[in-house]
Symmetry: C2
Subunit: 457 residues, 2 copies
């Protein structure tokens, strides 16, 4: 049944096996380096987060205490599996890592931890890392789009699809052929998991999802190289992922524009330190307040006009009790923007929970499903807010391309500034260390290896 090579998953694998860095347009390679810097800074910023610390403790109890792979938050070494696990957990916890709009996937948090850990164990070059990472992005984004919006209503796509993205990336790093990549996806898909239910409890699962996606993806590729087999049609088969976890899967997405459309470069950077679903409205509110010259005190209420996915993910968060949960509170994010001018890492740390003005503003914000915005989503994340002022005016603003999107992206100076802030956030890297990292990333395609990003402390 899988003897023919005409099914969509196989066509995707054939492309992944075939393409080389010479096939990738130069701007896409440059953007991948941007994404890499943004990722490694995020992974470093996850230092000391309680959920990450517990995963470090687990790794210390269960994994080897030496190895080739680097753990960024504690500068120790272990095996690639555990390095991918910890770096996967830490990449996502400050909510500053990238996101691809159409697939609602956070590729960096799952692809790069797996690739770098595997590459460090095998002395792969920077060019090989870039190629493998692009394979992971191209596969993961298409698989996320394939799984559709119905999947994302219940499942955390970065956990589920992220496992396959990491597997595709490491399989490419290992130079597996189409058959091998297909086997890796089979093993990854059959362990793909991650449910949104944790949002109601502000639980630590989001870090477990990225940790396991990166580590299990690496495991799937490792096993495939060793000859361990998986289901060939794990995505579109009668008892595959779409059959079990989607009601609107579209197989054509799996092969959409292979070799011509570079989905990697469609990935957005986060400008605010919160869930991406809050960003369009936060942008629009910022525009409105600047345009009208009003302050938070003058605002009586804010209606954010949103897509259904925002309501699904943000709706359960009513009274955030942790900083991480506050990143999923539309009212808190808009409160930080209105009261403090920005909703970055520092604003969350200092003002998200204890600030009475922010808490008061939170109560003024509501979400309302908007048909136009919902129809445009997930390809476009349109921001629109309606503000009622204390003196009785009704004002509106919209932003069609949120800051950080490919058409409104961060410049290299902005990315460097963000990386320095992330390094400083928990003293994960000194400014001097981060500047060395920045210089290495901009020259990644000619790096002889990707070992030794941070000196042992």
């Amino acid at each position: 049944m899988s003897a023919d090579h005409t099914y969509p998953t196989r066509q995707l694998c054939e492309f992944l096996a075939r393409f080389t860095l010479a096939d990738v347009p130069a701007p896409v390679i440059e953007r991948t380096k941007d994404l890499f810097l943004d990722w490694i800074a995020s992974a470093i910023a996850g230092k000391d987060a309680p959920a990450v610390r517990k995963i470090q403790e687990f790794a210390a109890a269960m994994g080897p205490s030496t190895g080739d792979a680097e753990v960024f938050v504690d500068r120790r070494r272990t095996s690639p599996y555990f390095a991918a696990l910890i770096n996967g957990a830490s990449s996502h916890v400050v909510e500053q890592d990238d996101v691809h709009n159409g697939s609602v996937l956070h590729p960096a948090a799952v692809v790069f931890p797996a690739v770098v850990a595997a590459a460090q164990a095998e002395g792969k070059t920077g060019a090989e890392v870039l190629l493998a990472s692009i394979a992971g992005y191209e596969a993961g984004i298409r698989i996320g789009e394939f799984m559709g919006r119905s999947h994302y209503r219940i499942f955390h796509t970065t956990g589920t699809v992220g496992t396959l993205a990491a597997a595709a990336a490491v399989a490419k790093l290992y130079n597996l052929d189409a058959e091998g990549i297909n086997q890796a996806l089979g093993s990854a898909g059959t362990q793909a998991a991650g449910l949104w239910e944790f949002l109601r409890d502000a639980a630590d699962s989001k870090q477990l999802h990225t940790a396991k996606a990166a580590a299990d993806g690496l495991q799937s590729a490792w096993l495939a190289r060793a000859g361990f087999t998986g289901a060939k049609q794990i995505l579109e088969g009668a008892q595959g992922m779409a059959a079990g976890m989607s009601s609107d899967a579209n197989p054509a997405s799996l092969t959409d524009g292979l070799g011509t459309r570079w989905a990697t470069a469609e990935t957005s950077f986060k400008f605010f330190a919160s869930c991406r679903h809050t960003h369009p409205a936060a942008d629009a509110l910022k525009v409105l307040m600047q345009r009208e010259g009003i302050s938070a005190d003058q605002i009586a209420s804010v209606t954010t006009h949103v897509h259904q996915g925002a309501i699904d993910v943000l709706g359960p968060v009513v009274n955030p009790t942790t900083i991480h949960q506050a990143k999923f509170s539309m009212g808190t994010v808009l409160g930080l923007v209105a009261v403090h001018g920005h909703a970055g890492l520092a604003e969350f740390e200092q003002h998200a929970l204890q600030d009475a003005k922010v808490a008061s503003f939170r109560g003024k914000v509501e979400m309302e499903l908007d048909d136009e915005i919902n129809a445009a989503y997930p390809r476009k994340w349109l921001g629109r807010v309606t503000v009622r002022t204390t003196d009785g005016r009704t004002l509106a603003a919209r932003v069609d391309v949120p800051k950080g999107d490919p058409d409104n992206t961060l410049s290299r100076p902005e990315l460097e500034a963000k990386a320095l802030q992330l390094g400083a956030f928990r003293h994960g890297a000194t400014e001097a260390e981060m500047r060395v990292i920045i210089a290495r990333v901009w020259a990644l395609e000619s790096a002889p290896n990707v070992n030794d990003w941070l000196p042992a402390r």
Copy 2:
């Protein structure tokens, strides 16, 4: 939202935290020891299976080379996580481990590897291991029943629900309270995975499913003990397991007869070395051939009257190409019974693939959905066959309680004989070693620890 403790998952956790061995009827404890022996023999028999070997290689590359936990197939020691991983893989590969009919869960393959690995690292007693294992069975069986038949159509329940069964068991071993067990289930449920798609390719995923369920369940309990949180209503919540992976979930199943119904003792032993869905028909054919005194040559065709689940799982297997796949071929199993009198481990090894008579018989067997059998399933697994003889007769037979079911269970001599065969199968344990294991299992409730089952070689 989870502040009230009245939701079904919480009630299950309250029971799991509360009960002690004094609450468990003596016959249930005795049956648990039967299940333990049947499991450890199965885990030993998985030696040298290619899928298990590759998971051993992965563990050697990624895990520590020393530790407290025993790997039965190679008699090495590693950390509990990797011992649970390998022992979980090896427990299920010869398809001789137990099954609970109502939940279609194989509890032994996921519960015992996790419990024993965790217990060896902490010097827990035999009584503590029994108690924890019963907790895993009671939880896993109810969660499997809760997820319903719709879940099993796409998902391998032993992979998905097995993760929670292992988590509940290890959480009980760690003496976690109801809150801690609830957290463990939250982390387990959000990484619960396993799709049937691999059946079409005779792929190795089934071993990955039990391996990961055991290891990830252990991980979930370990993390819960360390304070890592998960979703409270991971099973019944609006974005929980049932919402994502079932259309007929029944929350009442989660608390069914807690403290009075001991689901552990409802678990069946496998008499044939094949998928449990083939057993009722194999039993019925055996009865029919003995009653009528006919041989395989005299049979023109066999119609097996089956439930939908059998068609879902066995239907894709038309021409088995591996011994493992042949265990999912109704025609092969019936062919072994008809031609060789039994479908045990030895018959599969010697005759499942190369024997022309068995292959010929395979072509005579068809499955037909039977409404009565389908309605009784999964609480009863009714066997019924209709045979047409070469001389034109139509014969029928039915078996209402297949051999190995609780009401037609294996005696201790039969269990010991099966354990010795499993030990001898790949020379995983000598007869003397297996007799030592047998004696220790029969006295498990008074064992000071569960370390050192097999001497290093």
